[in-house]
């Protein structure tokens, strides 16, 4: 888990980025080899295709302490697997609607098409998103908040079941 104790002083958001292997991840590589610098707040996870991104991954990221999630895929028409990015786009838009219903700002999930040659776009998108999330503030979706209310009311720690995570 991330340490968020010092967030009052300077809030450093935690971003999780899911980048597709063929375009966006390669672009991030390019940004690296070109020595471009960008905000160090992002943790990049490589997936084979943005279409592999199960919306559950996004929720897990929030659950585990992320303040924002960035999804990067190939431009429309460029998908290595023909139409994975289109599927990802549909899921993303519906997920965003659900998250808004649940009181999560839509800026906290962002999807961008970034081609393998666009290292500079990786840089600008990450910088921009870090700034946006910094402005929004921390999300605080860790399970701790669920236990707070309970612990105020009933004791008997032996019976307190750990949250359901991973068991269902």
């Amino acid at each position: 888990m991330f340490d968020k104790n010092n967030e009052k002083e300077a809030f450093n958001p935690h971003l999780v980025a899911f980048f597709c292997n063929w375009c966006t991840y390669t672009a991030a590589d390019l940004a690296g080899t070109a020595r471009m610098t960008y905000e160090p707040n992002v943790r990049v996870i490589r997936i084979m295709c943005s279409g592999r991104l199960d919306p559950q991954f996004v929720l897990w990221a929030f659950r585990e302490g992320a303040d924002g999630v960035l999804i990067g895929g190939c431009h429309p028409g460029d998908c290595h697997y023909q139409e994975g990015n289109y599927k990802a786009r549909r899921r993303f838009l519906l997920l965003q609607k659900y998250l808004q219903f649940m009181g999560i700002e839509k800026e906290r999930v962002r999807m961008e098409w970034i081609a393998a040659s666009e290292g500079d776009k990786v840089q600008s998108v990450i910088n921009e998103m870090t700034e946006t999330i910094r402005r929004l503030g921390p999300l605080h979706l860790e399970p701790v908040s669920m236990r707070q209310e309970r612990s105020l009311e009933t004791a008997e720690p032996d019976n307190i079941a750990v949250m359901k995570e991973g068991t269902l």
Binding site: L139, R150, N159
Partner: protein, 329 residues
């Protein structure tokens, strides 16, 4: 040798699960012969003190239905946990939060305002809402505290097995009771229902096209539903694709889409999001505006995807700002 002891209890539920026990009809007689019912507030006159007087783990199995959303319910289920060998979460509410779990899109204050102040026909000039404590001349009277958040049973106590369904199908209840009596409960999957999606036993299975492409999402009242054809292919949001079978496809046979009461198959951690993902992939459009138009057809995403499982989902509830969480009100 004394008979195994069975207890039933209800928390935040509608009573349908108790009804399901009665639905066992004649087969309940066979069960009653083999067990002693030691606690069942809805049907038999037992008191909380009767349970308190029992030895630890004296009850063989406690069937608890309903979600947990008040301090009183939490106290009771903790008491039953201590006195029972097995705790079985009975029905969707205990398993996943159920319909009451949709209250997790509000907090307590909003609920009180809606019910006691703003509801049509309410005449409440003094703006009275339930208090936990009030001093009268005889002393202090107390009420249980209603929580901001509805919880599943296993978010409050340890649960050994789950009987899913709203209410659980009779065949699964009978099967579970038999397994308990013969000591043949499974070790791997704690959910006592087949770990296969409903599509597998769906009577319309053969009419499901190889590739479903939806131009328009519909709600059941908006179209005349073809009773033979796959409901997804008709644009209805049928949860059967990611929901456990074992219910006999009763809703499908009634020409209505599955709403997901049996809960997700075991490899899914968030039932609603998985359904959301599958439905989104069916959208037959690549253009953002067209996708947005189709998504607008889904007017109630939470109630559609998470009708029974919001408290068990990864989000648990709608997001409460950090400041609000800390407050006790």
């Amino acid at each position: 040798m004394s008979k195994p002891k069975i207890a039933f209890y209800w928390c935040a539920s509608c009573g349908g699960c108790e009804e399901a026990v009665v639905d066992l009809a004649e087969s309940i007689l066979g069960v009653v012969e083999k067990v002693d019912i030691v606690f069942w507030p809805v049907a038999l006159d037992f008191k909380r003190s009767d349970v308190e007087a029992m030895a630890s783990r004296e009850i063989t199995a406690a069937f608890i239905n309903g979600a947990v959303r008040s301090s009183e319910q939490a106290e009771m289920v903790e008491l039953l946990r201590g006195k029972s060998n097995l705790v079985i979460a009975f029905g969707s509410c205990a398993h996943l939060g159920g319909i009451p779990g949709l209250a997790n899109t509000f907090n307590r204050e909003e609920m009180f305002r809606a019910v006691y102040l703003d509801a049509p026909g309410v005449n409440n000039d003094r703006s009275t809402v339930p208090k936990e404590e009030i001093e009268v001349s005889e002393g202090i009277l107390t009420l249980p505290r209603l929580w901001d958040t509805v919880k599943t049973l296993d978010q409050v106590i340890k649960v050994d097995y789950y009987l899913p369904g709203c209410p659980p199908p009779v065949s699964l209840i009978v099967g579970a009771v038999e397994k308990i009596l013969s000591n043949q409960l499974p070790e791997a999957d704690p959910v006592l229902a087949p770990d296969i999606a409903l599509c597998e036993e769906c009577p319309r299975r053969d009419s499901k096209p190889e590739k479903i492409a939806v131009k328009e999402f519909k709600r059941p009242h908006e179209i005349e539903i073809d009773p033979e054809k796959c409901l997804l292919a008709q644009g209805l949001l049928c949860m059967g694709i990611c929901t456990r079978k074992g219910c006999g496809a009763v809703c499908i046979n009634g020409n209505m889409p599955c709403t997901g009461c049996m809960g997700p198959v075991s490899h899914i951690s968030d039932h609603g999001t998985k359904a959301l993902s599958s439905f989104a992939s069916l959208i037959d459009a690549n253009d953002d505006e067209e996708i947005a138009r189709l998504i607008d057809n889904i007017v109630d995403p939470v109630g559609t995807f998470y009708r029974y499982s919001l408290p068990a989902s990864l989000m648990h509830r709608s997001h409460m700002k950090a400041a609000a969480k800390g407050e006790k009100s």
